[in-house]
């Protein structure tokens, strides 16, 4: 059993050429930094209740005697206006940001990619124009503004802000997949499969899709950062997660009025947002290098 599993892994790794890909990825130190930051933030988010010094401070907790204390050894990032530990809340904030990214991408990637594949496969027909014109429609407005408007029409909450962001996001995947799919569509191996009588389902998902995965994977990694940015922007203006949820954007906004005498309330969560975004951007660049060199 174990031997079979090992063989299977070996097979998979030769198939996807993992070792060579890892070599390409690891040649750039920045990619490694990105990997460390991204994995680190995921681990922190998962372990938040165990690693944060004061887990009970994540929710509704007040201790006004210790309010707005500057960073010290007891409170590494200081305390906020309610006396809650900013470090603990920031670690819990990772949970919300990453969950938002995970949910939005899970909602957005499958439909976006499938629509792009279909439009690319039926390139030049009415299906192509309908799908692509609809996606153009969504791209005609800056995503943040439309997401703000949707979040405003619905009741402000974390779930609704996720829906608002998701609604804005799928067309980018449709466009990306469409571009690669319609290029791959004319390759000989696709024509060969069709001549051999492959169904359109087989052609789309077994012949075309595997060849579009590189750019899609790169975009997913880069988008983790963008979704977190958009999500934190929504909560920053008050249309996302509501206090006392320890959402990073909400925390930055909450500390805004104390910025002149208690800068740590805003600045540490703000730095955390920037760090996650930076991490996933560097990781995405690394993954892109991995696939680009292969194309050469």
């Amino acid at each position: 059993m174990q031997i079979r599993l090992l063989e299977k892994i070996k097979q998979l790794s030769t198939r996807f050429d993992l070792r060579r890909k890892w070599y390409r990825f690891s040649r750039s130190p920045l990619s490694i930094v990105g990997l460390v930051i991204s994995v680190g933030s995921i681990v922190l988010a998962l372990a938040a209740p165990y690693v944060s010094p004061y887990p009970q401070h994540a929710g509704l907790f007040t201790d006004f005697r210790h309010a707005r204390l500057p960073p010290s050894f007891t409170y590494l990032f200081g305390t906020d206006e309610m006396g809650r530990d900013v470090l603990s809340r920031t670690i819990f904030g990772f949970q919300y940001s990453l969950m938002m990214a995970a949910v939005v991408l899970a909602l957005v990637v499958p439909p976006g990619v499938i629509l792009g594949l279909i439009a690319g496969y039926y390139r030049g027909t009415w299906i192509d124009s309908v799908v692509m014109r609809i996606s153009d429609m969504f791209i005609a407005v800056p995503p943040l503004v439309l997401a703000l408007a949707i979040a405003a029409v619905l009741t402000p909450s974390l779930v609704n802000s996720m829906m608002a962001v998701s609604l804005m996001w799928w067309p980018w995947y449709t466009r990306l997949t469409y571009n690669t799919a319609s290029a791959v569509r004319n390759e000989y191996f696709v024509q060969a499969a069709e001549v051999m009588g492959a169904s359109s389902f087989h052609t789309i998902f077994r012949e075309i899709l595997p060849n579009c995965l590189g750019p899609i994977l790169t975009k997913i990694t880069l988008d983790v950062g963008w979704v977190i940015l958009l999500g934190s922007a929504l909560s920053f203006v008050g249309l996302g997660a509501q206090p006392p949820t320890p959402d990073l954007g909400t925390m930055v906004a909450g500390g805004g009025q104390f910025i002149h005498n208690a800068w740590w309330i805003s600045i540490f969560p703000a730095a955390a947002i920037s760090l996650i975004i930076l991490g996933f951007n560097l990781l995405g660049d690394g993954i892109r290098d991995m696939f680009i060199e292969e194309a050469k």
């Binding site: 014109r133 609809i134 153009d136 429609m137 969504f138 791209i139 005609a140 407005v141 800056p142 995503p143 943040l144 503004v145 439309l146 703000l148 408007a149 949707i150 979040a151 405003a152 029409v153 619905l154 950062g225 940015l229 934190s232 922007a233 920053f236 203006v237 008050g238 249309l239 930055v252 805004g256 910025i259 002149h260 800068w263 805003s266 600045i267 703000a270 730095a271 947002i273 920037s274 760090l275 975004i277 930076l278 951007n281 560097l282």
Partner: protein
């Protein structure tokens, strides 16, 4: 006449996307909220009042008919009344939009100058320390959200070193010039008050910088990448073999083809500026479009939200046409591609 056919083609695409935009906004205004009549009337209104309102707003008609009525209203400039300000939303928009536009305009100028300067320096000294500085800065530019930059600038340059004011349009005590265009900068020039103008610009520096920083650094990287790529081309080798001075080579031969990719994404940059204005204006208490927008949004003022999204969508579409035309002008290959078809 190649360029004009190209422009017509772009215009047709834009008309399509504007139709799409209107459908999207219609869905936003009429379908998502559930019962718009109930929202206008308020939760405690009697059922017959709501019923009457439904008739008055033509909400009893089928959706597609409602859509055509609604588009007709837009073309007549009737976007309805705001529940919040009790005025025509068009009046509201005209009052608040200019302040945002002047801020975005200044940010765009900063972005252009900064992107060119940094991009050319990084490309000229590629793989040396100036290039590395720009590279590191560009990673910061990508990863730090505009509202975070706004707060950091406010803290550092407003509270700590006190070089710039923390918020507002002018120093309190200075009288605002009479409203002509709605843009305080232009109005103070029209009124002939240069000191007021300078004071307003001084107030705009921090918000404008916070707005444009991300886009500026990304554009700088793109210009730098183009310059490094073109440096190895034969025509540059020829130019330097002919003994042309390096300054001429950099600015006349290297820069022009290298800026095209950066110009192409400037349409997206405009979107980013407008979207970020929503966040940055609220930090600096700038009385622009987003201030109005946020009030509309928190009061669920549907007519207002619709007007907002429409105006921004139209500005964005127009900006993209302009960008496409500029790109076609800069890059003859795009025009020639049309001929090749």
């Amino acid at each position: 006449m190649r360029l004009s056919t190209y422009i017509i083609r772009i215009a047709i695409l834009v008309i399509f996307s504007l139709i799409g935009l209107s459908i999207l906004v219609f869905v936003l205004a009429r379908v998502l909220p559930g019962d718009p009549a109930r929202m206008v009337a308020g939760a405690r209104a009697e059922e017959w009042v709501v019923e009457q309102l439904r008739k008055q707003l033509r909400l009893d008609k089928p959706l597609y008919e409602q859509y055509f009525y609604w588009v007709g209203d837009i073309f007549r400039g009737e976007l309805g009344y705001s529940i919040l300000t009790k005025r025509d939303v068009v009046t509201d928009v005209l009052e608040y939009l200019p302040a945002s536009l002047e801020l975005i305009f200044l940010a765009a100028i900063f972005q252009l100058i900064g992107a060119f300067a940094l991009g050319v320096i990084a490309g000229r000294y590629s793989y040396k320390w100036p290039d590395n500085m720009v590279r590191i800065a560009s990673y910061v530019g990508i990863s730090v959200p505009a509202f975070v930059l706004a707060i950091v600038f406010q803290l550092v340059f407003g509270w700590w070193v006190k070089w710039f004011p923390i918020q507002g349009v002018v120093t309190s005590g200075i009288e605002l010039p009479p409203t002509v265009t709605g843009m305080t900068t232009l109005d103070s020039l029209i009124a002939g008050r240069v000191d007021t103008f300078l004071n307003v610009v001084w107030h705009m520096v921090l918000p404008a910088l916070a707005l444009c920083m991300g886009g500026m650094l990304q554009d700088a990287r793109i210009i730098r990448a183009g310059m490094v790529e073109n440096k190895d081309k034969d025509y540059i080798a020829l130019a330097s073999a002919q003994g042309l001075p390096e300054r001429t080579i950099t600015f006349r031969y290297l820069l022009k083809p290298s800026v095209i990719p950066a110009v192409t994404i400037m349409g997206l940059d405009i979107a980013a500026l407008m979207a970020n204005a929503f966040l940055v204006e609220s930090v600096f208490n700038w009385p622009g479009f987003s201030k109005l927008g946020m009030r509309y949004m928190f009061n669920k003022d549907l007519n207002g939200i619709v007007a907002l999204v429409l105006v921004i969508g139209v500005i964005y579409a127009v900006a993209n046409i302009v960008v496409d035309i500029v790109v076609a002008y800069l890059d003859p290959r795009i025009r020639l591609m049309e001929r090749g078809e």
